[in-house]
């Protein structure tokens, strides 16, 4: 069994093991073991990648190819480059942290963890797929469990939120399907067989008209899950209703599929289409950036604030991708990573705070720094990371994005870039607003005086997420080198 397939197999084994568990204790233990193994394998994969990359210059490493549906030339074909490796590590970390955070899930624990693990399996699958069909299958596997996760274990208007989220994402993936079919049936433009293999199609010059026609489908199909501006409304409601671990996983990992897919599929396979449409989508994306930030100012529910800030941050990812140069792309990937860790941390903290104060309304809280020093301090740090404080991952990512954006001298791109940069100010506003309201100031409510202290598993989850944030922020070079080295094929095809 090769190193990549294991990434999908281990979750499946975990699920099987979970089926035999009796109660919360056993199931969470099993899941924890599974996720730790997963994390170990991810890190091992990282080092293996460096070793392999040293001797092997091909685009994808550890490739494996099994014929699946022969007549349609559908393969189970996998492989990773620097980008996917980075995102795989993100996933494994967030999943493990999520397990820690949902240590005390009371209702149907077994089912909860099963669904969670299935979701993670889907995500891993997407990141290792080289075949469009496989990718699409895994993508849907990753999306659909959200319905149950939010619907069963959620809070507030969970049924509405779950249904909305599922329908919007599945509707998007339906569009995506058309895009994929369009790509598939044009993949023999240079003669040769029809194929779903991304690398194969990457060599083909699909007719311009077809590219122009199918790029929007593919782009939107993926971008919706990346909270792309007009189609982002599933995310605030979804996050607000989802249980903590699910919000973490969803905002931290699942939403990254959007940027990843846009880059790996839409832009890489349809370069001409991308060029033709880039300005249009660039405008929408930058609207998302500014709009999300401004909308976040007005929110009072912590999860809503975070959801909108996600809209803004992931809008930056799309902007960067559409900026069409190496620096910006590097920034986009870094931003995906850093936002993943950061927002996961945020949701984890929100969950902890909610679990203690039983409210998520920032206006109702105050002076938590006094009663929950550790959690509040981490919250401040997370906030600073999210507003791009140097030394945190967010800064590195945003700076790459901005530097890339500024490589376009023309006025249109200048304006877009400056608007994007302006988001850092607004971000500061809404982050500090919350910090000031909720953590600082006098204690508003007498029963905030004595809140339960942070427990070991909470701290474990927090540290797990803090380490990469600070690590990337302090020493970005190795990571950005790893990503940059994987960007060459994209550069050859798109620039």
């Amino acid at each position: 069994m090769d190193i990549l397939t294991l990434l999908v197999v281990v979750p499946v084994l975990t699920v099987i093991a979970l089926l035999f568990t009796k109660d919360l204790k056993q199931s969470r233990f099993i899941t924890m073991i599974g996720s730790i193994v997963q994390l170990g394998m991810a890190i091992n994969l990282l080092f293996a990648y460096f070793r392999e990359r040293a001797v092997n210059a091909s685009i994808m490493l550890f490739t494996r190819d099994l014929t699946w549906f022969e007549s349609l030339n559908i393969h189970y074909s996998i492989g990773v480059d620097g980008i996917s490796v980075a995102l795989i590590i993100l996933t494994s970390v967030v999943v493990l942290a999520g397990v820690f955070i949902s240590w005390k899930i009371d209702d149907l624990p077994k089912e909860f963890f099963v669904t969670l693990v299935i979701l993670s399996a889907g995500v891993y699958g997407v990141f290792i797929s080289v075949d469009l069909f496989t990718l699409f299958v895994f993508y849907e596997i990753a999306v659909i469990p959200m319905y149950l996760l939010i619907g069963i274990w959620g809070s507030g208007p969970r049924e509405y939120a779950a249904m909305k989220l599922t329908l919007m994402l599945m509707g998007a993936s339906a569009l995506l399907l058309i895009g994929i079919l369009g790509i598939y049936f044009n993949s023999n433009a240079d003669g040769g067989a029809l194929t779903f293999n991304i690398l194969e199609i990457g060599k083909v010059n699909i007719p311009i008209e077809a590219q122009k026609l199918f790029f929007p489908f593919t782009f939107i199909g993926f971008a919706v899950i990346g909270a792309f501006f007009p189609f982002h409304t599933w995310s605030p409601d979804g996050h607000a209703s989802a249980p903590t671990a699910v919000s973490m996983l969803h905002a931290g990992v699942l939403m990254k599929l959007g940027g990843y897919g846009v880059f790996r599929v839409a832009m890489f396979l349809l370069p001409e289409g991308a060029k033709h449409w880039s300005n249009f989508f660039l405008v929408l994306a930058v609207i998302g950036v500014v709009y999300g930030a401004f909308a976040a100012i007005k929110q009072t529910d912590l999860k809503y604030i975070n959801a909108y800030s996600s809209v803004s941050h992931l809008g930056m990812v799309l902007v960067a991708l559409l900026m069409m140069n190496k620096t910006a792309w590097n920034g986009a990937i870094l931003q995906s990573l850093s936002h993943g860790f950061m927002t996961a941390l945020f949701f984890a903290l929100i969950g902890m705070i909610y679990g203690r104060t039983h409210t998520r309304d920032a206006t109702k809280m105050g002076g938590l720094l006094k009663t929950l020093p550790f959690i509040s301090m981490i919250y401040v740090i997370a906030g600073l990371a999210s507003l791009g404080l140097p030394g945190m991952s967010g800064f590195v990512a945003e700076m790459n994005i901005f530097a890339g954006a500024f490589q376009h001298p023309d006025l249109f791109h200048r304006i877009i870039s400056i608007l994007t940069v302006s988001a850092i100010v607004v971000t500061a506003v809404y982050i500090l607003r919350v910090v000031g309201m909720m953590l600082m100031g006098p204690i508003t409510d007498s029963h905030f005086e004595h809140l339960p202290k942070d427990t070991w598993y909470e701290r474990a989850g927090i540290y797990l997420l803090m380490i990469p944030i600070v690590g990337i922020g302090m020493l970005p070079l190795w990571l950005s080198n790893m990503i940059m080295s994987s960007l060459d094929p994209f550069i050859q095809r798109l620039l």
Binding site: F231, F294, G367, A403, V425
Partner: protein
């Protein structure tokens, strides 16, 4: 000569920060205090050693001070555009090393007394170390991007320290204000940096300020009001500087920042961080000077002049002693700015630059002293307001005397350090820009007046009786006062003209007797007036203020600039912009999505009647379908 050990200068405080940060709830207070002081002492020693080595024992390269750069690659934007982390040793950075380490050390010692018994003591020292680390990194930065990085870090540490008393809403508000205003300024700064990075392809000071960098920068044609792209970029950078240095109109955060503990005000908001803007302009001075024939410098000069004037005027009317000091800081920084603004590059032309740096040095010392003194006073009487003070001289001699020394120094009384630096500034302005010269002179008088208004009404004036008699502060607080008192005299006799000049060559400075006499008379005038008004309780102040009427009211309310900002943010940005965005999101965007969803449901309700349950309707539909299909297929195709 090898200065690579200066890496330690930022790293030691960082180590201290990490240590204290991790064990903040496990260490006893005086332990952490001593750790901080020890760390800072070593830093100070290193800095002094570096300064002596650099200025005395380093051979000059064809008459110029050499520049030493030690750096490691930190991040690459492109294959050419790299970001390094490192240390750059040249006259101004060495000078700043001395300033920062001195003040920081003093504040560390002072705080052991001042913050004694505070429950966040360790946290306080952790933040102080964090700040020192960031400031040192800023000072030693080898490139624009490193400066920006530490620029942000000092901003954050200042946020943390202003909001140190986080249970006081006013403190929280002040912290937020400080951070957001500077953040807004940094937005300009960042854009400027990115523009420079894109057009000149490097962030590195050595390249940018070197001949080929200048040459590259001068190639760009004017695109906007006589500014080239680079010129605009410089202006934007100056915007960042203005934000940090509380220049008009971005100064509003500084007075509120006084909500922080007094040592913090002394360290950050008087001596070090607020002069970062000046330092930035000085750092990029060749660029500022040569690009677009220094058009950017004019802006610098005028912004400085306006700020110094406004600040001085406002300072006249404030009663909170820390606010008075804050405005005086703003006004003094305005001095430095305008001095830079009027400066030229080589030889004696660079006197403005030299003066500005010199004033930065001296000002750091005496303003630090003033704040620490004020702190000591507040410590004694537990109030910030002049009205609650008076006659303190007989209770706290040391504080009083040191305070007097500082006041004389800032008033430019001959013999004190402030006199020399201010004198140079006057010379510079006199030679290059008359209007500004007059402003400067006027402000010199105002400074002397409000300073002694402050001094007299704290230490002399009426005999307030205190319900518990104030007493002199403990040794940990007085020692720094004394040391700084010395430091606010001695630097006047440093050969700054030899050391710190734009072209690094150095010239022989001399006191211009005419200028000196003018300045002195103005200063003495101010002092005398203040003595006349405030040495004993009189009703002149009331009369004067009454005479000025509305102007006085406006001044007292800082010309309502805060209110203006508040109106813009609260009522325009928050209420209308973001409010409408939120509404739009809920109603329009989300509404559309829901509409699509509901429309299907409604549609299914609407057509349910078709399934009527009547066999014959079904049959009719059947036959109709057949016939329609036939017609369509045969005739329409």
């Amino acid at each position: 000569m090898n200065f690579s050990y200066t890496f330690l200068v930022p790293l030691i405080p960082f180590a201290v920060f990490i240590f204290l940060g991790f064990f903040y709830n496990r260490i006893k207070e005086n332990i952490s205090g001593w750790i901080g002081v020890a760390g800072l002492t070593s830093v100070a020693v290193l800095s002094y050693y570096t300064a002596i080595q650099y200025f005395y024992h380093t051979p000059k390269l064809d008459g110029k001070f050499q520049t030493f750069v030690y750096s490691v690659n930190w991040m690459n934007f492109t294959d050419t555009l790299k970001v390094d982390m490192g240390v750059l040793i040249d006259p101004i950075s060495v000078m700043m090393l001395v300033v920062v380490s001195t003040i920081s050390l003093m504040v560390h010692i002072y705080s052991m007394g001042y913050m004694h018994g505070d429950r966040g003591f360790t946290k306080f020292y952790a933040f102080l170390s964090l700040f020192t680390f960031s400031m040192m990194g800023l000072v030693l930065a080898t490139n624009l991007f490193q400066i920006y990085i530490f620029w942000e870090l000092v901003g954050v540490s200042s946020f943390l320290l202003i909001g140190y008393y986080y249970e006081k809403p006013s403190a929280v508000a002040a912290a937020k204000k400080a951070f957001i205003v500077t953040r807004f300024a940094d937005f300009g700064f960042l854009v400027g940096i990115l523009l420079v990075g894109y057009y000149l392809g490097s962030f590195d000071f050595q390249y940018l300020n070197g001949p080929e960098g200048i040459a590259a920068a001068q190639k760009f044609g004017s695109i906007f009001m006589g500014f080239s792209v680079i010129g605009l970029a410089l202006v934007l950078m100056f915007m960042g500087g203005a934000g940090k240095s509380a220049m008009f109109p971005l100064h509003i955060w500084l007075p509120d920042a006084m909500e922080g503990p007094t040592p913090v005000s002394a360290l950050i908001h008087a001596a070090t961080m607020v002069v970062a803007g000046v330092y930035l302009v000085a750092r990029m001075f060749p660029m500022f000077n040569f690009v677009d024939h220094g058009s950017a410098l004019h802006i610098v000069a005028w912004v400085g002049a306006i700020s110094t004037l406004i600040a001085a005027i406002i300072a006249l009317t404030q009663f909170d002693i820390k606010r008075v000091l804050a405005f005086s800081t703003m006004s003094q920084i305005g001095y430095m700015m305008l001095a830079l603004g009027v400066s030229g590059y080589d030889g004696h032309e660079g006197v403005g630059y030299m003066a500005s740096m010199w004033h930065l040095f001296t000002h750091a010392m005496f303003k630090g002293l003033l704040f620490l003194g004020a702190g000591s006073v507040i410590h004694a009487v537990h109030s910030n307001l002049m009205q609650d003070m008076g006659g303190l001289h007989k209770y706290m001699k040391i504080t009083s005397i040191t305070f007097l020394i500082a006041a004389l120094s800032i008033a430019g009384f001959p013999g004190f350090s402030g006199f020399f630096s201010k004198d140079e500034i006057l010379i510079a302005t006199f030679h290059h820009n008359r209007p500004i010269f007059y402003i400067t002179l006027f402000v010199a008088g105002l400074t002397a007046f409000y300073m002694f208004r402050l001094y007299f009404s704290i230490f002399w004036n009426k005999k307030t009786h205190y319900h518990h008699t104030p007493h002199e502060s403990p040794l940990t607080m007085t020692i720094p006062l004394v040391f700084l008192a010395i430091m606010s005299i001695v630097p006047g006799y440093f050969p700054f003209t030899e050391w710190v000049t734009p072209d690094k060559v150095g010239f022989h400075g001399h006191i211009d007797p005419m200028m000196a006499s003018i300045a002195t008379t103005v200063g003495v005038l101010g002092i005398g007036l203040a003595y006349f008004f405030y040495f004993k309780p009189t009703d002149y102040p009331a009369k004067i203020s009454a005479a000025f009427g509305t102007f006085y009211v406006w001044t007292k309310n800082k010309f309502y600039i805060d209110e203006l900002y508040l109106f813009v943010t609260r009522n325009i940005i928050f209420k209308y912009i973001s409010g409408s965005f939120a509404w739009f999101d809920k109603k329009v965007v989300d509404g559309t999505m829901n509409l699509i969803g509901n429309s299907t449901v409604v549609g299914s309700e609407a057509i349910k009647g078709v399934q009527s349950g009547k066999v014959q309707d079904y049959a009719f539909a059947f036959v109709g379908g057949v016939i329609i299909l036939v017609i369509v297929v045969i005739y329409m195709l």
